[in-house]
Symmetry: C2
Subunit: 390 residues, 2 copies
């Protein structure tokens, strides 16, 4: 298996509804990534793209072939991946395999979404297609409902009183916004307080408005290269050293394991084993905080905190820069925004810049190993581990 | 690179609108493939699924994780691929890479669609999302329009009078229906005549109703295995020895090359080179006859006939069993049906059964090498070459 490096990243601003098309957004991020990688578009051998809602947001599917042509990567294999919010991460993992196996030396991979353009009410209905649409969605199981239910379950299962848990969750949103201010690509650049969260509009009990991430328009793209190629292009390659992917079935099939998501535990074990590391080796993490409770659930399954204690750990500053494991210092989905298919590649781009020491005031000093965690729908998980390569 | 074998195939009937869900259809074909491969669902290490319209046909995206869970392939990486009509073939090519690279030994891959369930008028509108939706679809560029235009262009470019070309095209539909009668999974089991075609309803000049394939509900699934694993499972493995994939941009960007599709020529060269064969070595072919003119355009770019002569070759019986290169003896998209995401895996299943000598009255005797050709939208091409392995 060949070593696979990230050699460039591009990122549009994450925003409310834009007038740009998905093809334009992706192309913009792609050209930035190509320039940073110091390559030409014609050097690209394959293109992978994560996108969920293209059909619904603008009546355009099969974006990938138009993007490839528009940026000048003519006639390459161009493939679209869909795994709900994890779409972009699946595309990255696949590109990793394509290079690790020796099929290609240079693959452009990213994601794009115009999730804000759909409008919030339609987005929630549209996005419910990524739960079980025959049995669970008709019973009201939208994503706010699912994570509201998981909050109650977590409270009961780990004996954390709901009021205390809500304060812990509020604190997580506050931390994300505090970091998002320093991310030029973040959708929200605004401090919030625990009081703001707890006085917010009730979305789905007990989740209030500021427990929930936004829908977002945007794109993020990275360039992957074989080790050999990477050494020609940069003195500061970041290697992908572990990948994991796993799926669970519909939520009702997971009932014996909830609030933990079994596929996350399967996926992260694959990634840690491949990289030969343990959670203690990780210096920086971007995880899937679609709702504040999701951060708690994820951080525990990733092995950073004991089950039932992550909310407390956040409150003690253990997830801050300087703490045990800095989490979502990009602002996370909550503050940076959540353009569905672009979310995974955006997480990867953040870790890439962190390991290269390019994150300014939100830099985790000396970070050598970083990890991403992306959750799609009610049980698609993809994890990627990256290591500083110089 | 490891050798990759097909060790089982499953196929639902291809039908008009069904009441089964996409998850149910795929699971049905998957269980048949699993049984034929003589494995258990829990042996499967990854699942790839091609699907285009799940969101529109029944409000269900992310089918792959529900399928994996329902058939008992718990917590495997499950990934959905979208490349318009080529979605399922992209999924197969990717599964090939996953095994060839040594990441997995046993991958289930297939496609499913409920394209008939959408209804013909809505399907045409929905499917127009797989052309350029910002510039070309608003100008009327649906798929019947695109292939109607290509028919005129072909006639002019190769100096084949339109009336003659229309008769040649009608003859292709007649041949497909004559073979489809013998395929128990075909949507249409009905002989037609050249007169039927030429007196048919005009869809988009010069294409008449029987020049066009139908929309179809159905699923097709295959099981791929590493050589080592394949030898444990069967005495009659079929190896995938060449793969190709390429994309062109929107139709207007292809104008210097049309009526030929440049991505097909790029893709098939990759596949032939990898397999180390030439068109003359191919014994049986399943190609993407979404419209009768599409058969002519494809067969020429695949290298079976000189440019401008394929219609004549069909008329002379060169594409029949016993002719130079038997094409679409399954009935093709025209008679067997076209459940978008399932079409590629269905083509692969047909070649697999042909090389194993299991096709009854439509068997191509002694076939050792077969090829599939799948076209997605206006320029995604995937080609797969298979060889008898015993």
């Amino acid at each position: 298996m060949k070593k696979v490096a990230i050699v460039g990243a591009g990122h549009t601003p994450f925003t409310f509804a834009t007038e740009k098309t998905s093809v334009e957004l992706f192309s913009e991020a792609a050209m930035d990534a190509i320039n940073e990688a110091n390559i030409k578009a014609k050097d690209i051998q394959a293109l992978n793209l994560g996108n969920c809602l293209g059909d619904f947001s603008e009546g355009q599917a099969m974006l990938q072939s138009y993007v490839a042509n528009d940026i000048g990567a003519f006639n390459v294999p161009a493939t679209r991946f869909e795994g709900a919010c994890a779409s972009g991460s699946l595309a990255v993992r696949d590109a990793f395999i394509w290079i690790a196996s020796g099929f290609y030396d240079l693959v452009l991979v990213g994601g794009v979404e115009r999730a804000a353009s759909i409008g919030t009410s339609l987005a929630t209905r549209t996005f419910a297609m990524f739960t079980d649409s025959h049995y669970e969605y008709p019973a009201g199981m939208t994503f706010p409902a699912m994570f509201g239910m998981l909050t109650h379950l977590y409270s009961k299962h780990y004996n954390v009183p709901l009021e205390k848990l809500k304060e812990q969750m509020a604190n997580i949103s506050v931390q994300s916004h505090a970091y998002g201010i320093h991310n030029p690509n973040a959708q929200f650049k605004k401090e919030i307080t625990v009081e703001n969260v707890l006085k917010g509009f009730m979305v789905c009990s007990p989740l209030q408005l500021l427990d929930c991430c936004p829908f977002t328009d945007g794109a993020a793209v990275i360039v992957l290269a074989s080790e050999e190629k990477a050494k020609e292009l940069t003195d500061k390659p970041v290697y992908i050293t572990g990948v994991g992917q796993s799926s669970s079935g519909r939520l009702s099939s997971q009932k014996d394991h909830l609030p933990r998501i079994k596929s996350r535990e399967v996926s992260i074990k694959q990634a840690y084993d491949m990289a030969g590391i343990t959670p203690n080796d990780v210096d920086v993490c971007e995880l899937h905080d679609c709702f504040s409770i999701a951060s708690i659930i994820a951080a525990e399954s990733l092995g950073f905190f004991e089950f039932g204690t992550a909310g407390d750990a956040w409150a003690k500053g253990e997830a801050k820069i300087g703490g045990k494991i800095p989490i979502n210092v990009s602002g996370g989905l909550k503050s940076k925004g959540h353009p569905i298919g672009a979310t995974g590649p955006s997480q990867v781009a953040e870790i890439y810049h962190q390991l290269r020491g390019e994150c300014g005031v939100r830099q985790v000093e000396g970070a050598k190993i970083g990890i991403t965690d992306t959750l799609g729908g009610d049980g698609v998980i993809c994890n990627l581990i990256m290591e500083k390569g110089w």
